[in-house]
Structure formats: structure tokens, C-alpha cells
Symmetry: C2
Subunit: 296 residues, 2 copies
């Protein structure tokens, strides 16, 4: 039986150590570095980098080769949280049980810390030593995939839709479109980059795309469910806020039971997409289940 | 006699047309695209992209090869202006004679439009078609140079220092450090990237670095002088604001005449650095003079 807890612990540690080292080697200003580090090392679940590394393993690659892509993905995820939490956006005061970046520092520093993390992600992607020029072309491809997923046709557009939806009741299809952009795009990029760096073939990339789309959406459905029945102490943030803010969520549109069934169905589809993969895809299979069973 | 006005007009048009085309091919959300375009096409002087293209020409390269680097630099410059203008930062209402992005749209949209431009810069740098893998390695190098210049060891740290200096009187050395990071780093990167993409040799890169450092600082001294004696109608923004905000500037520390002499000295040093270049460096020479003689 695959030990997911052990796998997640080990991989988180590798990602955390690498992120710490990157921060040490890119120091300049004291305040901006403190703010960067505060948010980047705030105990995130590291889901995107671990999915990236697990995709590399699933296609028989060495996860070390994808480590910088994994770290860049976490930097971009963290920057997006810092900016989303700002007063002009979601105005959140608490994240992962700690004051959000603009509360712990100030708004200007939080904006710049987000900008710096986004920029640093591309710096580290462009700084990986490569043995031959063919690898250089591959890293350019990774940069392109991540930039498109994080940009105005992906995550940023998702956040625009999320802001625009405030106070409006969305239908399920609009809700899905929004989440596909806001969280799905970067999750899909995580798996694509991990697989690409391990020379995955077209069929494998296609299956991983299907896997990514399904777990990406399931992740969001699970988040919505946790906002209804999660434990705020375990989650490190308030629950019930979606209802309070009259946000359209899966539970509010489908009901709680149907939302859980929907999440199950998505995970089933994700697992089906991995059918042709051997036991090296066990981490990806276990993570699919983890995504809807997690408590935070 | 080299016709700088004609050169700037021509190059601006090329950069503007290319930026327009990039925006057309990267559309997704209506609002975010409007906000992006509003700031990116607001009539900027295009100094960084033109310096990039002129550096390519100075080392006998084809400016077409550096066009995407030029556009990426302008995107990054524009994103930095959008974020610097935010209420949490400089709280500026007017830029290039038009309401700033967060005034014309709203704060959330302005933050995201800045994020999107920064991300798009790296997308286009990673999307340039290349004929061989050696060129791929070169584009990675360009991405790295630009990311370092724009990041927490460059432009972002400069903005942090600028914010921290509010209400404090800096000495000339602190002022120089701040500007070297805030504007100098990206100007230096503009010239380095243009030259690198044209296969410049080490000596040429060294001379262009000296040129860049001197014009970068001269640019800032000239900005400070314009804030004292510029014409607000020509500049499209208010003057006298530095004095009002008790900002440390070259005129406030050195006096107006000594500031003008200092700018002249910097330009002289910039021109000296180009001594070994032939007449293909005429645009760079003319731009050095333009930078301190400009009226906006």
C-alpha cells in the first residue's frame, strides 16, 4: 500500500529546503526578503510542486530534473495568494493560520513581495544549468506554459471573473469556467511541466491533462465543501465565509451531498485517465484521493 | 547629422505595432485586456525598448532579432508604473496626461493588469521562434537578465528603498543607490539584452554597461530637474510634487545648477564609453543627449 503521508512529507521537505536555498542566494533588501519568506514559507501544502514532481516520476523521470519548475510553481501560487488577499481584492486577514502578508507588513510591501515572487519564479526557471541546448529549448517551453497558465488567459483572468462574480449568482457552468482558470490552469501546468521535463510522449501528456483538469476542479469543490463543514482550527482560516459573502459555490448551487458526489466523480475520472500508467503513478493516484479527503 | 527625432518616431512605431499585435493575439478577458492596453498604449516614450534595439544596431545586429526583448522590457516598465501609482504606493492620479490605471478602472484591476503585463513579458520572451537550440540558450539568458533586473535585487528593491525614503532626507550616495536599482537596473538590462542577442563580445558588453549606468542615472537626474522646471502640459503630469512631498532629489541635495552639471558629466562619461564603436552607435550617442534635453 502506497504511503502518501510519508511521500508528501518527504517531497514537501525537499521543496521547502530548495526554496530556502533559493531565498538565501537571491537576497538583497531586508524587508522585501522578510516579506517574501514570510509568505513563501508559511506552511503551504505544496500541492502544485508535488504534483509536478509526481508527474515526472509517473513518466519514469528523475524528480530532481523538475525541482526548479516545482519551486517556481509554488512561488507563483504564493504570489497569487498575497495579491488575492489584498484589501482591494478579497481583503483577507488570515492565511494558513497567520496574518496575511499585507497585515504582517503593509500593503505596499505585500504588492511588491508578490511582484518579486512572480519575477523570481521566472528567474529560477531561466537559471537552471543545462547540459545541452536541447534542454534549453525545453526550459523555454516550461516558462511559456507557466506564463500562459498564470497570465491574463489563465489564473489572472480567473481572479478577474471571481471579483466580477461578487454579489452575483453564477450558474454551475460559469463557476466551472472561473475555477478552471483561477486554480485549474496552474495545476494543469504543474503536471505538464513535470512530465515534459521527463520527456513524456504526447499520449502521456494528454492523459495527464485529463487527470489535471479533473483533480483541479475536484480541489475547488473540496475547498467549497471545507468552507461549509471544515474545522477552522485545522484549516488555519475562517469557515462559513462563502455563505456570509453570498459567494456562488458548489454546495450553494448543488447542495452539500451532490457536491460530494460530484467531487467523487471527478476523482474517478482522474484515476481513469491514469489507467495506462504503471505503479510509478501511485503518488498521483493517491494525491487524487487526498485532494477531496483533506481536512485543510 | 543623425536625425534622432525621425529615429525615435520610427522605432516607437515599430514597438507600438508589435505591442498591439501581441495584445491582439493574447486576448482573454475583456476588462483585463482593456486595462492592460490602456496603460501599455498610453503614449510612453519607449526609451527602454529603443535602447535595446539601438544596442543591437550598435554591435552590428539586426534590430528585428531583439524586438520581443524590447517589447517585454516595455511591458515590465509599464507594469512597474501601474503598481507604483497605486494608492498603497505613490498614490498618483495622473500619468502621461491620463488618469492612472487604478483611477480609470479600479484598484483590483490595476493590480491584476500589472501582474498580467509582468507575466506576459516572460511569455513573449519564451515564445520567440528560434532556428537552433543555441538561440534557445540565448533567450534563457535574456529572461534571466531581465528577471534579475526587475526583481527583488533590482527594480523592486529600488521601489522598496524609494518608499522607505519618504519623509527622510537621503544623502547623494543613498539617492544614487536607490535610482541605480529603481530605474538603472532595467535600463542596463535593456542594453545588455539588445547587445547579447546580436552576439556582442565581452568588451562591447562592458562598454555598454558603462554607457547604461551613466545614462540611467542621468535619466533620473533629468527627471528630478523636470519636476522643478518642466512644463506640466508638455509632461502630462504635475510638477513641483517632489518639493511638496519633501522628496530627496538631486536638485534638493545639490541645487539646480550643480544637478545640470552632474547630468552633463554623466552623459559625457556615457559617450566616452562608446568611443570604440563606429557610426552604428550614433542612435545611442544621440539618445544620451536626448535623455537630459527632453522636455517630458
Amino acid at each position: 500500500m502506497f504511503d502518501l503521508k510519508n511521500y508528501l512529507n518527504h517531497k514537501s521537505r525537499v521543496v521547502n529546503d530548495t526554496l530556502e536555498n533559493i531565498l538565501l542566494s537571491t537576497q538583497q533588501g531586508e524587508t522585501i526578503n522578510k516579506a517574501l519568506k514570510y509568505s513563501l514559507m508559511a506552511g503551504g501544502k505544496r500541492i502544485r510542486p508535488i504534483l509536478c514532481l509526481a508527474a515526472t516520476e509517473a513518466v519514469d523521470g528523475n524528480p530532481k530534473d523538475a525541482l526548479m519548475a516545482a519551486c517556481a510553481l509554488e512561488m507563483i501560487h504564493t504570489y497569487s495568494l498575497i495579491h488575492d488577499d489584498l484589501p482591494a481584492m478579497d481583503d483577507d486577514k488570515l492565511r494558513r493560520g497567520k496574518p496575511t502578508c499585507h497585515v504582517a507588513f503593509d500593503e505596499a510591501t505585500a504588492i511588491l513581495a508578490g511582484d518579486a515572487l512572480l519575477t523570481m519564479a521566472f528567474e529560477i526557471l531561466a537559471s537552471v544549468p543545462f547540459e545541452n541546448n536541447g534542454q534549453a529549448a525545453k526550459w523555454l517551453q516550461v516558462i511559456r506554459i507557466i506564463a500562459i497558465a498564470a497570465g491574463s488567459r489563465g489564473m489572472i483572468q480567473g481572479q478577474m471573473l471571481d471579483i466580477a462574480s461578487e454579489g452575483r449568482r453564477l450558474n454551475v457552468s460559469d463557476l466551472e469556467s472561473m475555477h478552471t482558470l483561477k486554480t485549474g490552469a496552474l495545476i494543469e501546468a504543474s503536471l505538464q511541466c513535470g512530465a515534459l521535463l521527463a520527456e513524456a510522449d504526447k499520449a502521456q501528456l494528454g492523459f495527464l491533462k485529463t487527470y489535471a483538469r479533473n483533480i483541479g476542479l475536484a480541489f475547488q469543490v473540496a475547498d467549497d465543501i471545507l468552507n461549509v463543514e471544515g474545522n477552522p482550527e485545522v484549516m488555519g482560516k475562517a469557515v462559513g465565509t462563502d455563505k456570509l459573502n453570498k459567494k456562488s459555490t458548489y454546495p450553494s448551487l448543488l447542495g452539500l451531498d451532490a457536491s460530494k458526489q460530484f467531487a467523487q466523480k471527478l476523482i474517478h475520472q482522474a484515476l481513469q485517465a491514469l489507467e495506462t500508467f504503471d505503479n510509478k503513478a501511485e503518488p498521483l493516484r493517491a494525491m487524487a484521493t487526498y485532494i477531496i479527503e483533506r481536512k485543510r
